[in-house]
C-alpha cells in the first residue's frame, strides 16, 4: 500500500526505473524536459524543473541509495500544459527532511552540501515527502 500523502489525484503518470548512478539518472531528466518543452513551458519553469530534478536524483543516488550500484531509482511523472508532477523514489530507509539544517544560515553557508531540498522548495510549486522520506513528490505549475 502506498504511503504517499493523500491529495488530488494526479494525471496518469509515466514511469522510468534507472540504476543507481549519476549517468543513468540523466535519462528521466531528458525525457521529462523534452515533454515539458513540448508542452510550452517557459525558460524559467524549465530551469526550475531541471534544477529540482537534478537535486532529487542526486539525493536519491547519494543519500537515499547511498551510492549503492545495485539499487534503483523509480521516477514517475506526468506533464500537461497546466502542471508537471514528478515523483522520485529510492530504495533507502528514508530520512526526516525537516531535520535538514537551513543552508542559508551563516553557520551553514560554507558547507559544500545541503542545498538540494531548499532549492527544490524554492523552485517548485509544491514539494512533499512521503512518510518514510524515501519518495519526494514535486509539482510545477506552468507560469505561462
Amino acid at each position: 500500500m502506498s504511503d504517499a500523502p493523500r491529495r488530488t489525484a494526479d494525471e496518469p503518470m509515466k514511469e522510468i526505473v534507472v540504476r543507481n548512478n549519476l549517468a543513468a539518472a540523466k535519462l528521466p531528466e531528458e525525457k521529462i524536459l523534452a515533454d515539458v518543452t513540448a508542452a510550452g513551458y517557459g525558460e524559467e519553469d524549465i530551469f526550475a524543473i531541471k534544477l529540482s530534478l537534478e537535486e532529487a536524483m542526486t539525493n536519491a543516488v547519494r543519500h537515499g541509495n547511498r551510492n549503492d550500484p545495485t539499487k534503483h531509482i523509480v521516477v514517475r511523472y506526468s506533464v500537461t500544459p497546466q502542471r508537471t508532477v514528478i515523483c522520485v523514489r529510492d530504495e533507502g530507509l528514508g530520512f526526516h527532511p525537516e531535520l535538514v539544517p537551513d543552508c542559508t544560515l551563516p553557520e551553514y553557508i560554507e558547507r559544500p552540501c545541503g542545498r538540494g531540498i531548499m532549492l527544490m522548495r524554492a523552485y517548485m510549486t509544491e514539494v512533499e515527502y512521503n512518510e518514510n522520506g524515501n519518495e519526494v513528490r514535486m509539482v510545477k505549475v506552468n507560469q505561462r
Partner: protein, 102 residues
C-alpha cells in the same frame, strides 16, 4: 580565470571542485569564475565552488564570479552564496576591484 559554460550538472561537479581546489592549493590569489556561457548549475556545482572557496581562504585567496546570467545570479542569491562569491559584470571589473584593494 576559470570559464564555466553550458550545463554544470551533477556529473561534472567533481571537475569543478578539482579545478578550483587545485588552483587554490597553488596559491592563486584571485580566481575569477567566468560564467557568461553558463546556462545551468545545481547544488553539486555550487558545492564544488564552496570547496574551492574554503581552500582558497586557507591560502588567503579569493574566488569571485564574473558575468553570471540572471538565473545563476538568482541561484547565488537564494543560497546566500552571493555573500561569499563577489559578483562582477565582467572579468575586467573583477580585476579592477582586486587592484583597488591591493
Amino acid at each position: 580565470m576559470v570559464r564555466m559554460s553550458g550545463s554544470c550538472t551533477m556529473e561534472v561537479s567533481s571537475q569543478i571542485r578539482h579545478c578550483l581546489v587545485g588552483l587554490a592549493q597553488d596559491h592563486v590569489p584571485l580566481i575569477i569564475v567566468e560564467m557568461r556561457d553558463l546556462d545551468f548549475i545545481d547544488s553539486n556545482g555550487l558545492g564544488g565552488m564552496v570547496a574551492g572557496h574554503l581552500r582558497a581562504r586557507h591560502h588567503h585567496g579569493t574566488i569571485c564570479v564574473a558575468n553570471p546570467s540572471a538565473a545563476v545570479r538568482e541561484l547565488l542569491e537564494l543560497t546566500r552564496l552571493s555573500q561569499i562569491f563577489p559578483s562582477f559584470p565582467d572579468v575586467e571589473s573583477a580585476l579592477a576591484a582586486r587592484a583597488g584593494s591591493d
